[in-house]
Symmetry: C2
């Protein structure tokens, strides 16, 4: 139930980080693109095959030390139907390697339409007498601007399929405060959204104290993370903004409880483009990604300490 499977993977790997798979074609080594373009042409299919090859190499290099991947739907949709197929195949491959899959889609709608998104990304759909998993996420990021009508359909599907969600609360971008920081009777909107996560989470309680309704809280806002950890004791945090967006391990330390639980920190470009930063051979992209994942893990674990689900 809830995000328990993710928490168990984090404990098992002693690593509260997730590798974001946001594969722009610019990030993919030339030799992979060349191979795929020779076979499929400079087409959307050729591009999609290159993204998948790249992701596969990253997953092979990371699956034993990193608990989860977070493919960002936008980068797959950008390559059309073929790109969306690469998203599915990436999810499938990550799952086959035992990784937890967080689909970053920030989906939102109401009623039966939100049910359709929940079914698409976390559930199963019936076609005649058969049943299929349309996409293969273990958790999905969602946007709560529409209120409970947009979240409740997810809770039902999460319960039935042992899945979780992460609701946008305080996002990592510079302009996130334009709306999210505005005060409603003295309380900023992101806190209101956080409080709603605690409330929605009551329907999806987990065995390790955290519910199946997590929150997205940007690493670039350390004070807000600290405050949110205090007021949202049952809400697990998905934390973007580390590395490329400028936040450090010290900035996110407050997200974690005394057992080292409470959050998972994302790095996308930092890991995917490690070979460019290292200026090593592009054929070493996977090894460079692994080196960066280890560096990041060790840096963050320096603040987190030992991770345990054992009751103290």
């Amino acid at each position: 139930m809830a995000l328990d499977r993710l928490i168990e993977k984090i404990e098992q790997t002693q690593n509260p980080t997730v590798a974001g798979l946001d594969p722009k074609l610019d990030y993919v080594p030339e030799y992979i693109k060349k191979k795929c373009f020779e076979k499929h042409g400079e087409t959307l299919k050729g591009a999609a095959k290159a993204l998948y090859e790249f992701n596969k190499g990253l997953i092979d290099a990371l699956y034993d030390i990193v608990p989860a991947v977070k493919p960002q739907a936008a980068y797959y949709e950008m390559y059309g139907v073929a790109g969306v197929k690469a998203l599915y195949k990436t999810q499938e491959y990550a799952r086959s390697k035992g990784m937890y899959v967080i689909t970053d889609g920030k989906r939102n709608d109401i009623g039966t339409t939100m049910e359709a998104y929940a079914t698409a990304h976390l559930g199963k759909v019936k076609v005649g007498g058969e049943e299929y998993e349309p996409f293969l996420g273990d958790a999905l990021t969602v946007n709560g601007y529409l209120g409970s009508d947009g979240i409740k359909p997810l809770l039902k599907v999460c319960k039935e399929n042992d899945k979780g969600i992460f609701v946008l609360v305080k996002t990592s971008n510079p302009s996130s405060g334009e709306l999210q920081d505005r005060p409603v009777a003295g309380t900023p909107i992101y806190e209101l959204m956080g409080n709603m996560c605690e409330e929605w989470g009551k329907e999806l309680s987990g065995v390790y104290g955290y519910s199946g309704v997590g929150a997205v809280t940007g690493a670039t806002y350390p004070e807000q993370i600290k405050r949110l950890r205090e007021i949202l004791p049952h809400t697990f945090f998905l934390i973007p903004g580390y590395g490329a967006q400028g936040a450090t391990a010290a900035d996110i330390a407050a997200a974690f409880d005394k057992n080292g639980l409470g959050g998972i920190v994302n790095s996308s470009r930092g890991i995917m483009c490690a070979y460019q930063k290292e200026k090593c051979s592009e054929r070493e992209f996977a090894e460079a990604a692994r080196r960066e994942a280890i560096r990041m893990r060790d840096e963050i674990m320096g603040y987190v300490g030992k991770i345990t689900t054992a009751k103290g």
Copy 2:
């Protein structure tokens, strides 16, 4: 530029309505499902082919009298990669018939990720020396919770490709007020979001007085529509909630200016499932959809009067 092409189509058809294409398999006539399942099995592909056949019949029945279609991405994603292909083919067919395509995806993210969504749904992507349109929308619905960082990347792509967006302002669902109605220094959040639409729209001004940044405003909240029309003179409204959700033509009358411009009203189930409501033969689904579209047009035009882009 902006939403001008949509406004021209509305004037040409004298019809400020859009047909929502949210095709659940339950809505599709049995004879279409039977044919597609016989050919492709009870598979996601079989389901997707059935959705497309259904949509094609609806578009054929509507394209000369209804200016636009609004496929809702969730219902296609629900059938996996095959379903997403049906979305593309539906957009392609609607475009070939001259209809304006509003992709209802409520996408949202920041920076380069939002650029990727903008490219996916409104732009063109480069693959080597070639350029492709990943999906074929003329406009996209988006969620502004993340602030300007989530909207500005869209404006650039809209400008380059003559496209528009609709930002969620006041949604039609019962719980929309949980967040959207909360007051910030006396101003409800939906008004703040509306004001941001006016501001963002300055970068995409249109020749008929309305910018390329529209707002989603639920027909179920007539008082709020009235207020938003007063304070947002350059913002075109996409109005869901008519029919199945209980709103009437009288409820949305205030959205329109003295030239009959200012909004477009969506009906999904009302049109798609007209044959079920009429209890006619399912083979008459397209004719029934047309009858309902004409009824809806005439009812709304009773409040709107003549639609003209001519300067008064």
